[in-house]
Amino acid sequence: MYKGLLVDKSIIGKDVHLEENCTTCHKGDAKGPTRDVAHKGLVARPSKNIEVCEKCHEDISKSFKNSLHFTSEGQRHGVTGRFSKDELKVFNEKVFEKSCRSCHSSCGDCHVKAPVIGGVSTGLLKGHRFVKKDEGKTCALCHGGRVYPEFTGDYGGAADIHYQKGMICVDCHKKEELHGISAASYVSRKEVKERPRCTNCHKPGEEKTESARSAHTSHNGKVSCYACHSGGAYRNCYDCHLGKGSTAKPGFILGLNPRDKKTVTTLRVIPTVRNTFKPAGIEMEHFDKLPNYWDTAPHNIRKRTERTRSCELCHNAKKNFLTKDMLLKDGSKANEGLIYTPKPIKK
């Protein structure tokens, strides 16, 4: 039997949660004489119903109900702008509830048992102990397509300098961010004021070398930190079709941030294409309103990169900058607005 699903008997009674009977959360009939009878009405993931946790963890549960981890609103927000009103209705009914919402996380997915990914679970985090955090078995699974392997260096290149120095997800992404910001609902992680910023720790003006200080000053407000400090290729996803998924390949793209159209930053190809939702009967009337490249924070930060080592790479060779020739075929018309051509350095 796969041991990942076995409850460690020695912890029963030691963890405050396990002072209760199994049936308090999982229902079923503890006195049932057969497996079938005992499992009748069994609830495999009790915390899908937040009220189970809310009885004791009232504040966290209230804000978690509105968190992006629970609502998956971020996924809806990312594509809503491409739909007409009628299309949005169809999307909500046929796609969002059936597809996107199926992978929202519950309390237990982070604190008791690893989340189910593609129908597979690695099992209990620690024999059914309730753990505060175990990023390698929780965050790493849901965010294992791009963020986590980029962070640990498993995607190629070098590991993120923060990981190399022993930091893991929750060292930057605080519980306030993960549990939801307030009782108010929100649709994008950009709305979370507690989300991490490089300058929270790396204060401008406190650089150890003059060259770093000078580089930061001259690029301030014009270039994001990632544009220079992302260590290399990160995962880009292409050609997603409802029900069939997308294909991924590594890449490194620089261009204007679609949110402000003035800051140069790292761009990641998002997989939505013109006919992504065609199987659901959605044509995306406003497909061209949003680009196919979005600003991204690659989690492969390095102190030194080829761009921090050489100004010429951007200002002369223009390496990795989005050009008209590179744009996706039949992509959004909004993509062209992200092209930026760096200027040569005045000597």
Binding site: D134, E135, G136, A140, T152, G153, G156, G157, A158, A159, Y163, Q164, K165, G166, M167, I168, R302, K303, R304
Partner: protein, 297 residues
């Protein structure tokens, strides 16, 4: 009989050379868990745990610092297990609290041969970066656990040091050098026999087979079943049977990415007293992409 006499002669030679081989060292090249336990609070000793951050946080040797394998060997230009830039490497060493006079014990997991050779690749890189006293914990963290030694979950934040040194370029060979050395140096393929013979190959290696005139010295022959090393005499007998007994002869080891071959390189240099052992970092990953590079089955 002749072979036994040769081996005995080689053993005597090793013993005679031992004082020279170990003269620059303040620690044996391989240390056991008892030694590490005894030296946990020795300020000169830095135990470097190269496992992933998550594994380290779940439990590690008390006072061990974490500097994961990916800090020491990176993917560069499409090639696996390459050296980081010297300034990046010095940062890793300095921020682990290692100084030029430190005694560094490298610890990793030893589940399989690729894990075990993570450890020697780091040790070889430390030598490249100018650290003289580099040792391996025999059996790695697995042995520490099976020996029921104390385990800590308190992450150690080492006091960083500024580290800079002259790197030892002579520990690595480039493709051109390997090409010129065919027929002169002993070129050692440390992969398993099926890979050496061209029966199997890894996906990222373009062709099956081995570098022309290379001899085979499989890495798996180095270990006991529990992941610890065979004893010194046995290891050196195995090595000598493949590379000969001449400690001055140039030896170039290779594998598929330049990682696994550091195991025999480390043993031959640090235990056997071979003076000129180089690792061909590009290994078959690079070699087999070059149609001019002689390769045979």
């Amino acid at each position: 009989m002749k072979k036994i006499r040769m081996n005995l002669l080689f053993l005597m030679l090793c013993i005679l050379l031992l004082p020279f081989a170990s003269s620059a060292r303040d620690v044996a090249p391989i240390v056991d868990t008892a030694w590490v336990e005894k030296n946990l609070n020795n300020p000169k000793v830095v135990v470097v745990d190269i496992r992933k951050v998550e594994d380290y946080k779940a439990g590690h040797i008390p006072n061990a610092v974490n500097a994961l394998y990916g800090s020491w060997a990176i993917m560069k230009g499409g090639m696996r297990n390459e050296l980081p830039a010297a300034d990046d490497l010095f940062d890793v060493i300095g921020s682990a609290g290692i100084g030029s006079d430190s005694i560094v014990v490298v610890v990793g997991k030893t589940d399989a041969v690729p894990d075990r050779t993570d450890i020697t690749r780091v040790a070889w890189t430390l030598k490249y970066a100018g650290i003289q006293n580099v040792a391996l914990l025999d059996g790695g963290y697995n042995k520490w656990v099976t020996d029921k030694k104390a385990v800590s979950t308190d992450a150690v934040r080492p006091k960083g040091k500024s580290y800079e040194a002259k790197v030892n370029e002579g520990l690595f060979a480039k493709k051109d050098h390997v090409m010129k050395s065919i027929g002169n140096a002993v070129i050692v393929d440390v992969r398993e026999p099926d890979f050496y013979k061209g029966v199997k190959k890894l996906d990222f290696v373009a062709k099956a087979g081995h570098i022309a005139k290379a001899v085979n010295l499989p890495t798996s022959q180095m270990y006991k079943q529990d992941g610890t090393y065979k004893d010194k005499a046995e290891l050196m007998n195995i090595a000598a049977a493949a590379v000969g007994n001449d400690p001055a002869k140039e030896i170039i080891t290779y594998c598929d990415t330049g990682k696994v071959c550091t195991a025999w390189s480390f043993m031959m240099t640090e235990l056997g007293g071979y003076k000129d052992v180089k690792v061909y970092d590009g290994s078959t990953e690079e070699w087999t992409k070059d149609p001019q590079a002689p390769f045979e089955q």
